[in-house]
Symmetry: C2
Subunit: 479 residues, 2 copies
């Protein structure tokens, strides 16, 4: 960990991000081009994300399983739009055990095909439905331009795959999982998101309908932060996933898939971070609080460390994730900077005067200087820390929401639209034509992020062509 | 789930195993030769194994991380014995993104090399040591003869990798992790194991010393159930993992690695299972208890289901993993068989008479018939279930230990040795020569499983050559 300052967020957002990921030791570049190493601090954050989502998946009846990493290439070719979407991105195993394989295998880019193959075997009758499966793993997609967490050749995610008896049930599942992602983003990551439907051109390769949650990053660009697909009968026809209905007739299933990846860590960094480093939302932070002891003499040290250990024990017993930074040879100032870089939401300072007065200082990561400090009696430390963490969680959300709102425009005309997407989101009526969408993209580099679930209810005219339009859509430049 | 009986365990242990894995829905064959699909019930068992081990790893200061799946082929070639051991088993990616790669990549067979590369980058000084990292993932080794869980081309595991300042610390870490595996096997899986040192010929490719825990399966064969390696300076020299010591001198680190895989599920099946199916140890079982309601009329059904739901809620609130089998159209007898196949340790039966008398019947999976049944008042159900689960956990361990002891011999001579390894383990003095070990293997098919940590303390003569020998070793046929 170097003492050098980060590039400024406002000067060079992209370099600020790259440096921060490395300096906070979230991830590192791998020796294979485009791959990443998720370092322990980054993985601890991912484990907290996993636990939260996994609880929600299980509470809604899903179970975890594990399907193979290697998929016969012919499987990918069975669903027409799937192969078109994925074949340029495949990593191909041609040799195994010293010999050339009869059929090449691909390293999974996603698992609809191999799971479809199993579903066809496991599902016989309507009694076997719905089948609700998830897996946590990594996938490989050969990417040309990569950026840690945001776009890497190998990335970590969960992929849910379900089969249903009817279109309505598959659609309800697709929407339920979108809602789980929305709820997670808002409540745990303190990130406001727009849940909505993708346009045809932005759909998952093989889906009838794709939904996503879209978040605004600190530079005004959008990040697709989770997706949920209604796959219709596309994969059930390609893989013959069929069931006998109550009347004894053979029917094709309706399937869905949905995923959220380590990309989401990129969103947390870019939404909340500042020039001092990360700011992690308390509900996901590996450490919610750091205790920094302050002393000069050995006598002071003995007293301060003893008091700090007592406070740590109390916080641990209240299930607060806390670390006591008792590193030798590092100054309190160095420690403050170090933990600010790593985004620990709350700092607990304790010095000789605090020991005398039975107090501690709490310092909020999200509010620099005096404004974020409070002086509290040691006896009330547990409640004060809990309350501070709640306050920080809410404040981060409010700040992100305000930022998004002040950078989202409802432009009067295409000229206003063009300047709106230079700094943030434009929410505009769109006629539904792919041509308008394509022209907008070519002229402004903004893509149609989603058609939000929440619509104004009225109608208007397309921001591009001026024809009547029944729905609004969000447009933005995106990662 | 079919109603057909399993092959008998004593008639055909191998077929019994294969059928049981499929029928209990633990795993399924994948469309890629040698790979497996871990089905939800098998994965739930693995998740419980993961949680237990992960807690122990973290309690001893280890942190999780994630390193890439793809490794440059040249990395594997940097450590001489490592490449000899692993190159026949590699799956090789030669194409990515539609183009042939300049350097082929291998799908990781294990991660010493790619982690060594990172360690070299991250470790600067003695202050960075020890570095204690673990990862949960899957690896690929091209296997010729495969068997679900026991030997598959892709398997799931954890791999720990650590770096230390001294040989002593690396050795202490290696032994500590062996002890964590032993403790887990005994306490959670109810499997007695022999912790010991491997002979040179059975060492991990690249290790100075390999330790393992060895368990006896229900057919008397051994299964290596977890390994811990002291890698000496082999990888630190190959990858230049160095640190500045307190005197400012550059030193090579001492590294270790250790792993336990889904193979362990095979041990649980083969140690505890019987002709009716699995018997899962309560501490790892996905469901510790199943409630089966018994009724004929609709009126009975209403009463019984209501009582069953109340009992389920009580057990859930006491953190007991319980399922209420309220499937329509399946008889109680069918349900009994079904859950016996799946090895749920305890069955809670409740019928109309139980409702009247405020009682339930508990039936132990490990004791068939009347002997395993007890009739208890509903008011005491939580304590009775907890106690029964503890009793079953202990009984499974005792039974497995008795079985191992009665199938382990201390043969007088080589002739006795030869018949001993036909049915179980032989624990015999061994002179330490690879020639004796090799001859024994050729003549009896028994391999040297380990030189146990616990030695008798005396000395004797080698069971094969008759020369003086200071240590005993376990020999057995093995999976």
């Amino acid at each position: 960990m170097s003492d050098l300052k980060l590039p400024s967020r406002s000067d060079d957002f992209s370099e600020w991000y790259n440096e921060l990921v490395l300096r906070a030791e979230l991830a590192d570049y791998a020796p294979v081009r485009g791959c990443m190493i998720v370092r322990p601090y980054g993985w601890a954050l991912w484990e907290n994300i996993q636990q939260s989502l996994d609880r929600s998946f299980k509470a809604t009846g899903h179970v975890n399983a594990a399907f193979p990493l290697l998929i016969p290439r012919s499987f990918i070719e069975k669903e027409k739009s799937h192969v078109e979407g994925f074949s340029p991105e495949l990593a191909v195993v041609t040799h195994g055990g010293g010999e050339e394989l009869e059929e090449p295998l691909v390293v999974r880019p996603t698992s609809e095909t191999i799971i479809g193959h199993s579903f066809a075997k496991w599902i016989q009758s309507y009694r076997d439905l719905p089948l609700l499966i998830n897996q946590w793993n990594s996938v490989v997609r050969w990417e040309m331009r990569t950026k840690l967490f945001l776009r890497t050749t190998e990335f970590f995610w969960q992929e849910g795959h379900t089969a249903h008896a009817t279109l309505e049930e598959a659609e309800a599942e697709t929407r339920q999982m979108l809602e789980i992602y929305r709820d997670f983003a808002v409540k745990d990551a303190a990130i406001p998101v727009i849940p909505g439907r993708k346009s045809e051109s932005e759909r998952f390769a093989g889906a009838d309908q794709t939904y996503s949650i879209e978040a605004m990053m600190g530079d005004g660009k959008a990040l697709q932060s989770g997706t949920s697909h209604n796959l219709g009968q596309n994969f059930s026809r390609a893989f013959e996933i069929r069931y006998l209905d109550k009347n004894g007739e053979l029917q094709h299933c309706w399937t869905t898939s949905w995923g959220l990846s380590t990309r989401f860590i990129g969103a947390i960094i870019m939404v909340h971070g500042d020039d001092q480093g990360l700011i992690l939302p308390p509900r996901l932070a590996p450490y919610q609080a750091v205790i920094v002891p302050i002393y000069k003499s050995d006598e002071e040290k003995a007293q301060v460390i003893q008091a700090a250990q007592k406070i740590k024990a109390e916080l641990v017993s209240s299930q607060i994730r806390v670390i006591l930074d008792d590193r030798e040879g590092a100054s309190p100032g160095f420690k403050f900077n170090d933990w600010e870089m790593r985004g620990v939401p709350l700092r607990v300072e304790i010095g000789p005067k605090d020991v005398q007065k039975n107090t501690v200082v709490l310092a909020r990561r999200d509010k620099p200087g005096r404004e974020g400090k409070s002086f509290i009696p040691q006896a009330g430390v547990i409640d004060a820390v809990k309350q501070a963490l709640d306050t920080i969680q809410k404040a981060l959300y409010e700040r992100a929401l305000n930022f998004r709102e002040s950078n989202t425009a409802d432009p009067k005309d295409y000229k206003e639209f063009q300047s709106a997407v230079e700094k943030g989101f434009a929410c505009s009526f769109w006629c539904g034509s792919s041509e308008c969408e394509k022209s907008i993209k070519e002229e402004t580099k903004a893509t149609l992020r989603c058609i939000p679930i929440d619509q104004p209810g009225d109608s208007g005219v397309c921001i591009y062509c001026g024809k009547p339009a029944g729905e609004k859509a969000y447009f933005a430049k995106a990662y």
